[in-house]
Symmetry: C2
Subunit: 298 residues, 2 copies
């Protein structure tokens, strides 16, 4: 697939995801109006929409074509957004801006920022549970919800956030760093690919393979991030470089050096692509997307 | 049922609920150990365990006897606890103690307090989803999870918390106050009774009636709280009285006076008991429990 064709396709699919997301936004009315506003503001603040996008690509790759997927696509983006909203809070990263816009708490206050993150988390499950009314296979929807919760929770994303808070500023080793990368960044990608497969009827073995692919992609993506912080520049990256050095942050690059980091990205990507090619079903766009994530310059 | 028999029964059932809760506590090990500790600390800090208790009474009243209920019982207590953990945060009520023990954030830090509330919310759904592996009726478990999310979220408990934050300190009217009571206190009681019914196979009409009973009980419970704050004393209540007056809080009593508040509790209780008696199934203990909640002196 040529790069410009891919980019055009990607743009179309991102707007399609945003259209789906828009269907689930609550109306901003009632005594609890502020929470609806804060929730919608957070969800509409932009982003790559990577998780729902990948979920749908896997779903269609396995022949899925029902309405259930929309509920889970919206749900995973809500979960992802909730984690950003809480990460930005004064007691966490204390960020005033994200993607050039005021963070939820800095716009709505710290109490509403806390409640908006909570609201997004719960609304994600409320939305996901809506799929039960549109499916002839409640067992699959149940398994999708179980995976969503488990990859989000204490053994997934929240576990990773905890380890990050606990270990940052300490002399972390490679195993600890990989643990954080795998849970904090990787877990929701794993959920995206697994849920796409589960809802389309992928076998247990195929779902385990999807999990493994996503794990490698997530890790490669994160190490690529560490590399770009050292090698890129403000214009290309669109955000300040050398921030890890300034913050004395331990990264894959500070632990192993640039060359070994680049080699690791290559290994992880090759394994991900090999496993993807080994599946009995194909999706050229998904493959291209994964390659682009790993080799990206920004 | 004699009062001392009831109290003995209640004690037994509360320990049984706590035994179930204990089965779902995560092991405190791994790089994210602190979140496990904070989660377990919050869950084990005590409480009346009213929601899981009522859920199981309704379940057995409708003839339920399977293992699914345990997952949902633990889940609703986790949701309830998560709301307390976040309510206590400095940006919310800024409470250092709850039931005589340091609040989660004051023990583990503000960042871990925030993450622990998040973790409890998500772990609730992870736990609830475990019921899919133990049921022959995934549709019912799905409906139970949908109700759990919807009564917890922006149209339920979190909606009530938002309205409470927004309206407290302003000149609230009776409609606004009842909105907050119904959502903030009532919604999880509604979920408890409805889920007990749904999992045991109650009809839609019966589930709607359970919702209505719980709504009236929740409202009566809350107004009774307002009354006791004025009429009780420190020894009986076990916490300082006249706190609403000191905080210039608008309550049912400040809006309507003591006599009308007592009359409202009577009306709501009578309707709840009438509806409960109108069901084709009976549970004497549940009836006694509801009466006790409404007429309680502490």
């Amino acid at each position: 697939m040529e790069q410009n064709v891919f980019e055009e396709e990607l743009k179309n699919r991102v707007s399609s995801v945003e259209g789906i997301l828009a269907e689930f936004l609550p109306e901003e009315t009632g005594y609890q109006k502020t929470i609806f506003e804060a929730l919608n503001y957070s969800l509409l603040a932009g982003g790559k929409r990577l998780r729902p996008l990948i979920m749908r690509e896997v779903y269609s790759m396995f022949g899925g074509s029902g309405p259930e997927i929309r509920f889970l696509m919206a749900a995973i983006e809500m979960i992802h957004t909730s984690s950003l909203v809480h990460d930005d809070l004064p007691c966490m990263d204390n960020d005033l801006y994200r993607r050039g816009k005021p963070t939820t708490w800095s716009k709505f206050g710290e109490d509403m920022g806390t409640l908006a993150g909570d609201a997004l988390m719960i609304y994600a499950f409320e939305t996901a549970a809506g799929a039960f009314s549109k499916t002839s296979n409640p067992g699959r929807v149940g398994e999708a919800i179980r995976v969503l919760a488990s990859k989000t929770g204490i053994y997934g994303m929240i576990g990773g956030q905890t380890a990050d808070v606990e270990l940052t500023g300490k002399q972390m080793d490679g195993e600890q760093l990989e643990f954080i990368y795998r849970l904090k960044t990787g877990a929701l990608l794993e959920a995206s690919m697994m849920i796409g497969g589960i809802l389309a009827g992928a076998s247990e073995e195929q779902t385990a393979r999807l999990e493994n692919i996503a794990r490698n992609v997530g890790m490669a993506f994160q190490i690529r991030d560490d590399i770009l912080d050292v090698t890129s520049n403000l214009e290309t990256l669109g955000k300040p470089v050398h921030s890890d050095e300034r913050n004395q942050k331990i990264t894959y690059v500070t632990l192993y050096g640039l060359a070994e980091a680049a080699e690791k990205v290559r290994e992880l990507s090759e394994e991900a692509i090999r496993e993807l090619d080994g599946l009995p079903v194909k999706n050229e766009f998904l493959k291209e997307l994964i390659m682009n994530l790993i080799t990206r310059e920004k």
